[in-house]
């Protein structure tokens, strides 16, 4: 094994990721290799220095500024979202209006045809396809076997 192999092991040891057997093997090598001992000392100092370089606190109020920005985004989404939600709502209202209109038309037609006052109306009503209200309520007509 060359020194580079052991130095890689040293890096893992600093990270507390070296198992016992490899640690023992590494210690044996270190006992006889001043170069790798120097490398280990350097890594320990480096570990402390990295902490010193990086133990920096975020600027005061950063978390609050992040929250405010996300809250603005949330509000913006709320303003935009109804545009999405309006479409299905309008569609539902339209369908309901069509359905009601259809029902109303049938009722009036039925009323007129029961009076027998206008043959052309009776013909039109009996010839028409199942109403939209029928489809929605899944009643179907007896003629189509439903």
């Amino acid at each position: 094994m060359n020194c580079e192999h052991y130095r890689k092991q040293l890096s893992k040891q600093v990270d507390r990721d070296l198992d016992a057997a490899l640690t023992e093997e590494l210690e044996k090598h270190l006992a006889s290799c001043p170069g790798c001992r120097s490398f280990r000392d350097g890594m320990e100092v480096l570990g402390r220095e990295l902490q010193a370089v990086s133990e920096r606190k975020p600027p005061t109020g950063l978390a609050e500024r992040v929250k405010e920005r996300v809250a603005r985004e949330r509000r913006r989404e709320r303003v935009l979202l109804p545009a999405w939600t309006r479409a299905p709502l309008v569609a539902m209202i339209t369908l309901a209006a069509v359905g009601l209109g259809n029902l109303a038309g049938r009722s009036i037609g039925t009323m007129l045809s029961s009076n027998g006052s206008d043959d052309s109306v009776e013909y039109t009503l009996t010839a028409q396809a199942p109403s939209f209200a029928d489809v929605l309520s899944d009643n179907g007509s007896e003629e189509n076997g439903q």
């Binding site: 890096s11 600093v14 370089v53 990086s54 920096r56 975020p58 978390a63 920005r69």
Partner: protein
């Protein structure tokens, strides 16, 4: 408002997805420091790091529904977003520096471009108490590392993440992370010894 500090990330994410502002804010409180340190490690610039933190959480908010806890822990997902943002910022800084340094009057300073990319902030009190010169040497050496090596080293040495977690953030293997960290340490030691 109830204290959310004791709740797991998973639960906070779930509630935040359902629209809870308080739970999302708890994630912000929990991770602002970490995201800031990682952003600073990558960009080397305090002002840019702050912008990265804001952008990162904004992206998290917008993409919370896309987060899949079966694929990654929230922390690693968050740090992967932070790293991507930081890399974008770093590229912008480098482009700006390149434009600046290619002006004739600054061409002679091009040799110091790497340091110019990473304006050094005032060292904090703890760094002053340690050997200021040594700390600055390490900082300078850090700025010279490739981004991937620097990020891997900082995530390990400072944040204590596992090789597997770092591998997820860097989209590489755990053994590649070991190697990145080893090379980063070796290069810094060589640089400091010079």
């Amino acid at each position: 408002m109830r204290d959310q500090g004791f709740l797991s990330d998973e639960l906070l994410v779930k509630e935040a997805r359902d629209g809870s502002e308080a739970h999302f804010n708890a994630l912000v409180d929990r991770y602002t420091g970490l995201v800031y340190r990682v952003a600073f490690s990558v960009t080397g610039n305090a002002h840019e790091a702050e912008d990265v933190v804001q952008e990162t959480f904004l992206r998290v908010f917008r993409n919370l529904d896309a987060f899949d806890s079966s694929k990654a822990a929230f922390k690693t997902w968050l740090l992967a977003i932070c790293r991507n943002q930081s890399i974008n910022v770093l590229a912008q800084l480098r482009r700006k520096a390149a434009r600046f340094l290619t002006r004739p009057q600054f061409a002679e300073d091009r040799g110091n471009a790497e340091e110019e990319d990473f304006p050094h902030d005032q060292p904090d009190a703890e760094a002053v108490l340690l050997s200021k010169e040594q700390t600055q040497l390490v900082h300078k050496a850090l700025t010279k590392l490739p981004e991937k090596q620097r990020t891997a080293l900082m995530l390990k040495a400072v944040e204590g993440l596992s090789y597997a977690e770092i591998a997820q953030i860097l989209k590489t293997s755990a053994s590649a992370v070991e190697s990145l960290i080893y090379r980063a340490r070796s290069k810094i030691l060589e640089e400091v010894k010079r």
